[in-house]
């Protein structure tokens, strides 16, 4: 499959090879330069509501940069974005409020906060307690804190780590930390979740659980679509409804997992031949 041409009538979803079911996030013609280095060039793709879109590609292809563009950490030099139909100019701290949450490569937990507090921090923007009520410890602040706490504990329970609520991240095994990070992301009730290498450093078992979880996300009570960067192909193939392949900052292929698996360009640039045993 060839990269989408800019004048294609159905630019929004053409890249994903999926019928337009109402795109949640849509990128058109995104370009990014770092000094002389072209990190992204004319990237268009869409994440339809209720889908799990995987972004794969060789190291340095621009996957993280793409996420950074969506999150507002990097300003694109070209292109436009819409989220849920409306033009979208992201600012990192407003994302959560808009319904987009991202996890970081690694874990990115706050080391000075307990697990529970970490998760509560994820829902900061939903708190209605203002400065004054917090400063004076008014009932409103207490009420909101209690609400956050309940929600956080609920999610920790869902992730199966509720018993670690009082612990500090550094003392926990990596897999548990990853779960906490996921809980922190989900507590914000996102409608679009960006996962940056969620399987990195996880064991096969944990990856299976992660896969089950991600597959279930669109069907959750607070349904959310997912965009995912990952090098672990098993996971990608298992959970994604569509995959976009980047190389040297350009979309070189997109389609369903099966299409991608068969695509020789992708094999050449990214998958390589499995080491034969």
């Amino acid at each position: 499959m060839s990269p989408p041409s800019p004048d294609s009538p159905d630019t929004g979803t053409a890249g994903t090879g999926i019928r337009n079911t109402g795109a949640s996030l849509e990128l058109r013609g995104i370009g990014v330069n770092f000094g002389g280095l072209v990190a992204l060039e004319d990237v268009s793709l869409a994440v339809p509501a209720g889908s799990v879109v995987g972004v794969i590609g060789p190291n340095g292809a621009g996957k993280t940069t793409l996420f950074n563009v969506v999150c507002g950490f990097v300003d694109p030099s070209a292109g436009t974005m819409t989220f849920e139909g409306a033009p979208f100019r992201p600012r990192p701290h407003q994302l959560a409020r808009r319904g987009i949450v991202r996890t970081l490569q690694g874990v990115g937990l706050f080391r000075g906060l307990s697990v529970l507090e970490n998760v509560m921090a994820g829902a900061t923007h939903t708190s209605k307690a203002g400065f004054v009520s917090s400063l004076f410890g008014l009932p409103r602040s207490d009420r909101e804190e209690r609400r956050l706490r309940t929600e956080a504990l609920e999610l920790l329970g869902e992730m199966g780590v509720a018993d670690q609520a009082g612990a500090y991240p550094e003392t926990l095994p990596y897999a548990v930390r990853k779960r906490v990070a996921l809980a922190r992301a989900l507590v914000a009730r996102p409608r679009l979740l960006l996962l940056d290498e969620p399987a990195g450093g996880l064991s096969a078992e944990d990856i299976d659980e992660l896969a089950a979880l991600v597959v279930g996300l669109p069907a959750r009570e607070n349904a959310c679509s997912v965009m995912l960067v990952e090098h672990h192909m098993d996971l990608v193939m298992k959970v994604c409804t569509a995959i976009v392949v980047l190389d040297f900052g350009r979309v070189i292929a997109s389609g369903t997992p099966d299409e991608i698996r068969e695509n020789p360009a992708v094999t050449e640039a990214y998958l390589g031949a499995e080491v034969s045993s």
């Binding site: 993280t64 996420f67 950074n68 999150c71 950490f73 970081l104 490569q105």
Partner: protein, 292 residues
């Protein structure tokens, strides 16, 4: 116009010394990621050593040498004997220990030499060299320029051209990784401190004749100016330290000359804010770190 030229030259000669002192701070920052608040007090100690030598022998070069070697030793001793044992759980710990060291050194100097001001003599002609009737600089100023320039060039070479420089930088940024790569991190730290203390001593000895004189607190205010200079230039950049030093020197001179000496701290703050708001890592900061 005449006044402007005069003030410019005055500012530059002052600035050169702040630059040298700022260089010492930059060195330790690069070598150990510590802002050495004890730099001033350490320079006072070695300046006393140089002072005693000059007074008893009358040989300026010998005194300078004694001071510099003393600085080297003192830096190494402070690192080996003290800073090495400071817990790094919190970067403020270094600051506090350095402040403790300042008090201790100041007290010891006070006990030995008393609180009196002592004249910092030197063998240079202090009559200004006049150009077009404007007294521009003295022989001593030229000596300062020469010394500071030499130090800057040597340090720049050391850091960018030599393996030792590379080791020092690596050790400062990522001690654990550096150790795995065979870098003797402890030694690099000691070396960094020793060198910084040497440069600090040089700056101290150079600046004394332009200050009120040698006494236990002789470097307190110099430290503040030099720190400002280092921050303006960007703590990671030796060239920045020099430019920062000269900028601070010029501000102090212009503001003091046109607006009055009392206003200088306000001017320094304003310039500092202006520079750092535009470039939060100092004028010579390199690329902004990628965070995600």
């Amino acid at each position: 116009m005449e006044r402007f030229i005069f003030l410019t030259f005055d500012g530059v000669s002052r600035g050169a010394i702040y630059a040298a002192f700022a260089l010492a701070l930059v060195l330790i920052w690069r070598a150990a990621r510590v802002v050495n608040f004890a730099q001033g007090a350490m320079a006072v100690v070695t300046a006393y050593a140089a002072y005693m030598t000059y007074n008893s022998t009358g040989n300026y070069l010998l005194a300078l040498l004694v001071g510099l070697v003393g600085g080297l030793l003192l830096g190494a001793v402070v690192e080996r004997g003290l800073m090495r044992f400071v817990g790094h759980a919190n970067p403020l710990n270094d600051v506090i220990v350095a402040l403790g060291l300042v008090l201790l050194l100041t007290a010891i100097v006070g006990m030995i030499w008393g609180g009196e001001y002592r004249a910092a003599n030197h063998p240079f002609d202090t009559n200004a060299i006049e150009v077009g009737g404007i007294p521009l600089m003295t022989q001593y100023d030229l000596f300062i320029y020469g010394s500071v320039a030499t130090i800057v060039v040597l340090l720049a070479l050391l850091f960018t051209r030599t393996p030792i420089g590379l080791r020092m930088r690596a050790a400062a940024f990522a001690p654990e990784v550096s150790r795995l790569l065979g870098v003797r991190v402890g030694r690099m730290l000691t070396l960094g401190w020793a060198l910084a203390s040497l440069v600090g001593t040089l700056a101290g000895i150079l600046i004394l004749p332009t200050e009120l004189g040698l006494h236990p607190h002789a470097m307190d205010l110099v430290f503040a100016s030099a720190f400002t200079a280092a921050v303006v230039g960007g703590l990671d950049s030796p060239v920045g330290a020099v430019v920062g030093g000269i900028i601070v020197g010029l501000i102090l001179s212009y503001v003091s000359g046109y607006l009055g000496a009392a206003v200088t701290p306000i001017a320094v703050l304003v310039v500092l804010l202006a520079v750092l708001l535009l470039r939060p890592g100092g004028i010579f900061s390199s690329v902004r770190a990628r965070t995600v």
